[in-house]
């Protein structure tokens, strides 16, 4: 048979039973639509996180306690034998090319002013953090230069507003875990970044925070350096310096900005693929729909199959006709699903412009290819059933 004739025959059969065709391709359409929509959401989230991260620039790295070789999450495997301390952080300042060091410790604490109080994240750090995290100030100044300890605090904009509704926070005193600290600065509104609310936070000198939380160990040290091209060199220098301080053991993890991005990218990509896999479950359901409808169709068209055999069709011709029908149904379903998915994505974006839904062409193509493949596979059993029919019995059937 000529390929075009096979396609025409399949198309004719699909058109001949429109309602049935629509019902059978609905499952495939919903499957493709959900894959397109869910992966668009996943890709949108990935891009959003990337953009958030990139605002810090590429010349910042993070040193965390604990050595991790595999999944990049410090402290999960192994664990530190040496703590990361303020002394470690001071050592790193002396490395050539390093422009800033922010030893950090953080924890949840209640920040109070008179009768008003609020439980927020308190972040112990140094002045260098301002540059690294691009913190803008609305009033006052950030933590003082060179001071690791001091009875001062810088409040995030919302925290300041909650504690001092009349706007007289600057110069006032707050209590943090029993410590009395003077407000020397109020940050400009910033919003959230990866779940961290920059507006509902209190910055205090790192040694003060350690005392507040009764700790002698840092959570991390952030290091900024002159240029992103120096990353490798700086990482080597930090590693050498800390190994020397930690009795020859590399019990810490250095994560550059690009490695962090890569890691987050991997996680989000895995999430997107997972979502796509979930969506493809509905493709499988759609395939069962195609199989069922075609199975019934073979039963109903038994005489037609017998006729085709009488007119000289080979068993292979009959199988190909039904496979082509399955492929036609699946392709139509895939196209409808693609249109539906992109349409819903466009509607969602129009309704919530903040959501950047980004359909990934490779996922779209994969969904379409999978739908066609799934349709073909779904057509195999009905096609074999049709091909194996005895022509005489088929012609005689009611």
């Amino acid at each position: 048979m000529i390929l075009l004739d096979t396609v025409r025959l399949a198309w004719g059969s699909v058109r001949g039973a429109r309602l049935r065709a629509v019902l059978s391709l609905l499952g495939i359409a919903i499957g493709v639509a959900s894959v397109v929509l869910l992966t668009s959401i996943g890709e949108g989230a990935r891009r959003f996180v990337q953009q958030e991260f990139l605002q810090f620039g590429g010349n910042v790295l993070q040193v965390s306690p604990g050595k991790v070789e595999t999944i990049g999450v410090p402290g999960v495997v192994g664990g530190s034998t040496h703590k990361l301390t303020l002394a470690d952080a001071r050592t790193l300042r002396r490395i050539e090319g390093v422009t800033g060091v922010a030893p950090n410790v953080f924890g949840q604490a209640r920040v109070e002013s008179g009768e008003r109080g609020r439980s927020v994240y308190v972040l112990g750090t140094t002045r260098d953090a301002r540059e690294m995290w691009r913190i803008e100030l609305a009033q006052g100044s950030f933590l003082p230069e060179g001071e690791e300890r001091g009875s001062v605090a810088v409040l995030g904009s919302r925290l300041a507003r909650e504690l001092f509704p009349s706007g007289d926070g600057l110069g006032s005193f707050v209590r943090v875990a029993g410590w009395r600290l003077r407000v020397i600065g109020i940050a400009a509104p910033r919003g959230q970044l990866l779940g961290w609310d920059f507006d509902d936070v209190a910055y205090v000198p790192v040694a003060t925070a350690l005392a507040c939380f009764d700790r002698d160990e840092l959570h991390e040290i952030d290091v900024s350096f002159r240029h992103v091209a120096l990353a490798g060199e700086i990482v080597s220098a930090i590693r050498a310096r800390l190994i020397e301080r930690h009795d020859g053991r590399e019990d810490f993890t250095i994560l550059t900005q690009s490695a962090m991005l890569e890691m987050i990218d991997d996680v989000l990509l895995a999430l997107t693929v997972g979502i796509a896999a979930l969506g493809s479950v509905s493709l499988a359901v759609g395939a069962v729909g195609v199989l069922t409808i075609l199975w019934i169709s073979v039963g109903e068209r038994t005489q037609e199959i017998g006729l085709c055999r009488a007119l000289g069709a080979r068993t292979a011709d009959i199988a190909v006709i039904f496979l082509a029908e399955a492929a036609a149904l699946a392709t139509l379903g895939g196209a409808a699903g693609l249109a539906l998915g992109l349409g819903v994505a466009a509607v969602i974006e129009a309704a919530w412009p903040a959501l950047d839904l980004a359909p990934r062409p490779e996922f779209v193509l994969a969904a379409l290819a999978t739908s066609a493949l799934v349709g073909l596979l779904a057509g195999v059993l009905p096609a074999l059933r049709a091909a194996r029919l005895d022509p005489v019995e088929a012609l005689r059937s009611e």
């Binding site: 048979m1 000529i2 075009l4 004739d5 025959l9 004719g12 059969s13 058109r15 001949g16 005489q303 037609e304 017998g306 006729l307 085709c308 055999r309 009488a310 007119l311 000289g312 069709a313 080979r314 068993t315 292979a316 011709d317 022509p391 005489v392 012609l395």
Partner: protein, 239 residues
């Protein structure tokens, strides 16, 4: 030329073996017009199916124009059905969603005949049975006689040597039936070998020869002109 020697067709039914054809020896010459008659279950349709390569004999030899076909593969039998045999059925067997023209073209699809040539031949075949003006109509829009004429056009469009008709007038009124029989007569006159299965002596009498069947065997061969009724003819047959 059709040569059948010792043809048997048996099948199992409920643990019992049924001999639908029980040793058929027959020779039908090219261009002959033969009617097959017999009571229900005598094996007429099975014989037609074997001749039409729709069914395979359990035993025996079937030679079509000197070529043994009993042991051919599915693809080879399909090729013979496409090119050398035309089928006309009592129930017409037209595909309802296709027009008369598309129905006539259907068999040629399986022979990979190019679309233009296919269309020309189908239109010519429909015109030859007086169905040219109805080419674009679907079976549901045609009368019984018109459907059977379209089915005959489909059977002859590939110019087969043999035309097999199983009760071609069984579903038609007298007028339509007569028109269909006249068509078959015309095709015989044009050189087709026509084998027709019928219960109707009036139909059988239009043939040259009548084969009478009973219990899977040909029990009598007679000139069609001598046929009066089936019962009478069978009464004179071998037991």
């Amino acid at each position: 030329m059709i040569e059948l020697v010792g043809i048997r067709r048996s099948y199992a039914l409920g643990g019992e073996t049924i001999h639908a054809l029980d040793g058929i020896d027959e020779r039908i010459e090219s261009g002959e017009h033969v009617a097959v008659m017999g009571p229900s279950g005598s094996g007429k349709s099975t014989l037609l199916n074997v001749i039409g390569c729709l069914d395979r004999p359990t035993a025996g030899s079937y030679r079509l124009d000197g070529r043994e076909v009993a042991g051919l593969s599915d693809a080879e039998l399909a090729r013979i059905r496409r090119r050398e045999i035309g089928h006309v059925f009592q129930a017409f067997h037209l595909v309802p969603r296709m027009s008369a023209l598309e129905n006539v073209e259907l068999g040629m699809l399986f022979d990979s005949i190019p679309p233009r040539q296919r269309r020309e031949r189908a239109l010519a075949a429909l015109a030859s049975v007086g169905m040219g003006p109805r080419a674009g109509h679907r079976p549901g829009e045609l009368s019984g006689g018109e459907r059977q004429r379209a089915a005959i056009a489909r059977a002859v469009v590939t110019r087969p040597r043999v035309l097999l008709a199983d009760e071609p007038t069984g579903n038609l009124d007298q007028t339509s039936g007569r028109a269909v029989l006249e068509l078959l007569d015309g095709l015989h006159a044009a050189g087709f070998t026509v084998v027709i299965v019928t219960h109707d002596p009036g139909v059988a009498r239009r043939a040259q020869r009548v084969l009478l069947m009973r219990n899977g065997r040909i029990v009598r061969r007679m000139p069609a002109s001598e046929l009066r009724t089936l019962d009478e003819a069978l009464a004179g047959a071998a037991p």
